[in-house]
Symmetry: C2
Subunit: 351 residues, 2 copies
DNA sequence: AATTAGCACTCAACCCAAGCGAGTGCCAAC
DNA sequence: GTTGGCACTCGCTTGGGTTGAGTGCTAATT
């Protein structure tokens, strides 16, 4: 039951490869006769049947029933994508489409939407993109507006033009003028630094030496602390083309489809799955049950982190049936991630 | 082929009513025997068959095939909801759930999300709520931040704590100080007025008497004009519980489901449909094809506008199969709309 | 020892016919 | 106008027969 590629001779691997390719393109269990013709090796169906029996013993392929051909198992796909697959370079038209879509820099949220739409459109499956992590962006402007009952509205602008806001509750009532002064102070001191570094600096200030600050400064820093505490980016993503998934018969079982779409709208599991790809770099693939979520049993997920200034800020990917054209999707996700990263980089894209 | 309730005697109507009720609860075509037992009228199946034949002639019911019992047609449902239906008062538990969910006032966008979730959860169908119209909200604070290349980031706060932003392109470069001054001026003059009235006032200023304004004021007003022009609220809605719809066999046909979900994600048609309910007040119902959109052929939509200070600001509703429990859903949508309106009213809900 | 041809066997898929059952329409009786 | 009776329709289910693709095994071939 071992399945490392060492245990297999060249020929078996070659056959596994053509089997997977054939199954991906046809969706039908592939039998020995077809395989015999499809593979360049000049072997009779009988020989191939022997090899298939071996592959089945190793858990790489599986027969739905006695007289059907073979279908790749998860391990089979895994071996295929890890060491057998020959990536196709991107189609020129598709490449053009990507460039065109991601060239004009805009508000980051819009870009994310565009990227997701491109992913789903060009793959004919579902596209997903997480919103960029906020810690990686830098503070440009912050200000406070008074609300009723000791509540204060914090507005801050990051990068070029992204606006965020949050309501905090303070321990005393501030006037508009006091709040403005606090904003001025914070802008003067922290402007241009990354949100995360500001958050840490503010905490440090409060611990270290409150003596050397006057009351106004202290208030300002306290508010900043409230504003940025636990302000991990409201984990969210943009998902498009979900409906494309309904076209795949392997996913269209009633309750399966429901589980899948429920997972999409609860977002929780998807986020968790995507976050796993933040660490690894390059393209990451979850095949079928590998994801660990029942809803994605029959799905594969091809993801890649995207980075701004060599700093990973988010993840994007394609969700489809396990039977997907990995040779095309892998490079496609790869370049999309790179293009999105580049498009989000404020330095390279200032208009 | 006329189908006004005048053409029918009491008994036929009574029978239609029990037929619809029965069909709604069972989902099976209902035959004469069942109807004979279900209705309080003491009639034999044979008599009922005669009545059914009449109803069928009038297009109120329909037989899927010769030996199958009757099913209400769209006109049948229409007659039912218009004049036969006895609304059930809301269940106390449900009422409590609604109150509990919509009592704590928050950011309007959150409230809309909560309302949508309540709608879908309690109806076991899909809930939809449009975002409140922006024109109805009043300006609380506006300010400008310089970006590169004559672009200016406009940030404005409405009502209690809602923050909006937009990038405008100006005809000359402004310094941060100039922009701040412009903001101060606009805040002083227009704060507290509704966005729509500000928009109109600004246009008027520019037409009427530019002479009595100095350059700074003129610049400020010009920017305000850019900021608010065509700023109709980005038409959008929150839809939840779509997956509930997959449980209804009448909707779960593969391509039907796909069309439906595509309509949901393109949003366009749904928006248009909901907008039709803005004008009418009270609960509005679209049954099956009445909506005019193919995707909603098999669906019914029960909607109600919701208002703040007697001003309609949005629409909410429930989407489900034509075979839905109108007696429950109608009052349910009604009170939800009222509660949401009340919860959004800044005056009654200041915390 | 590896490969191949031959052969019996398996099993989903398709088709067709029969039987069932729910329900109707119509007619004649009340 | 209402009802019981009866023939009829039609979808749904069941079961048997056939087909065809594909396998596993064995014995012959290289």
């Amino acid at each position: 039951m071992s399945n490392s590629s060492q245990d297999l001779n060249e020929r078996s691997l070659q056959l596994l490869k053509t089997l997977v390719e054939r199954y991906i393109s046809d969706g039908q269990p592939v039998g020995s006769r077809v395989l015999s013709k499809d593979s360049a090796l000049n072997l009779s169906p009988a020989t191939i049947r022997n090899v298939m029996a071996d592959l089945e013993d190793m858990g790489l392929v599986h027969s739905p029933h006695t007289s059907a051909g073979r279908v790749p198992t998860v391990s089979g796909y895994r071996l295929f994508v890890d060491s057998l697959l020959t990536v196709k370079p991107l189609d020129v038209a598709e490449m053009a489409r990507l460039h065109q879509g991601l060239l004009v820099p805009e508000d980051a949220n819009n870009m994310v939407g565009v990227a997701s739409r491109l992913l789903s459109e060009l793959s004919q499956m579902a596209g997903v993109v997480t919103l960029p992590k906020r810690e990686m962006v830098c503070l440009r402007h912050i200000e406070f507006l008074p609300l009723s009952h000791q509540r204060v509205l914090v507005i801050f602008v990051t990068n070029e033009q992204e606006v965020h806001n949050k309501v905090i509750v303070t321990d005393k009532v501030f006037t508009a003028a006091e709040l403005q002064q606090a904003g001025n102070y914070l802008n003067a001191v922290y402007c241009g630094r990354s949100l995360e570094s500001v958050r840490l600096a503010v905490i440090k200030e409060l611990q270290d030496d409150q003596e050397r600050m006057n009351q106004a400064m202290l208030d300002a820093v306290k508010m900043a602390q409230l504003a940025f505490e636990s302000e991990v980016n409201a984990d969210d993503y943009v998902l498009t083309g979900e409906t494309n998934l309904m076209d795949f018969s392997e996913l269209s079982g009633r309750d399966h489809l429901k589980k899948l779409f429920e997972a999409f709208s609860q977002k929780h599991d998807v986020i968790h799955l995507l976050e796993q790809s933040m660490k690894a770099d390059g393209v990451q693939i979850f095949i079928g049950e590998e994801s660990g979520y029942q809803a994605f049993d029959q799905c594969s997920l091809v993801t890649s982190a995207y980075s701004v200034n060599d700093e990973v800020v988010g993840v994007l990917g394609v969700i489809g049936p396990t039977r997907m054209a990995y040779q095309k999707i892998i490079p496609f996700v790869d370049v999309t991630a790179k293009l999105l990263g580049a498009a989000l980089n404020p330095k390279t894209t200032a208009p």
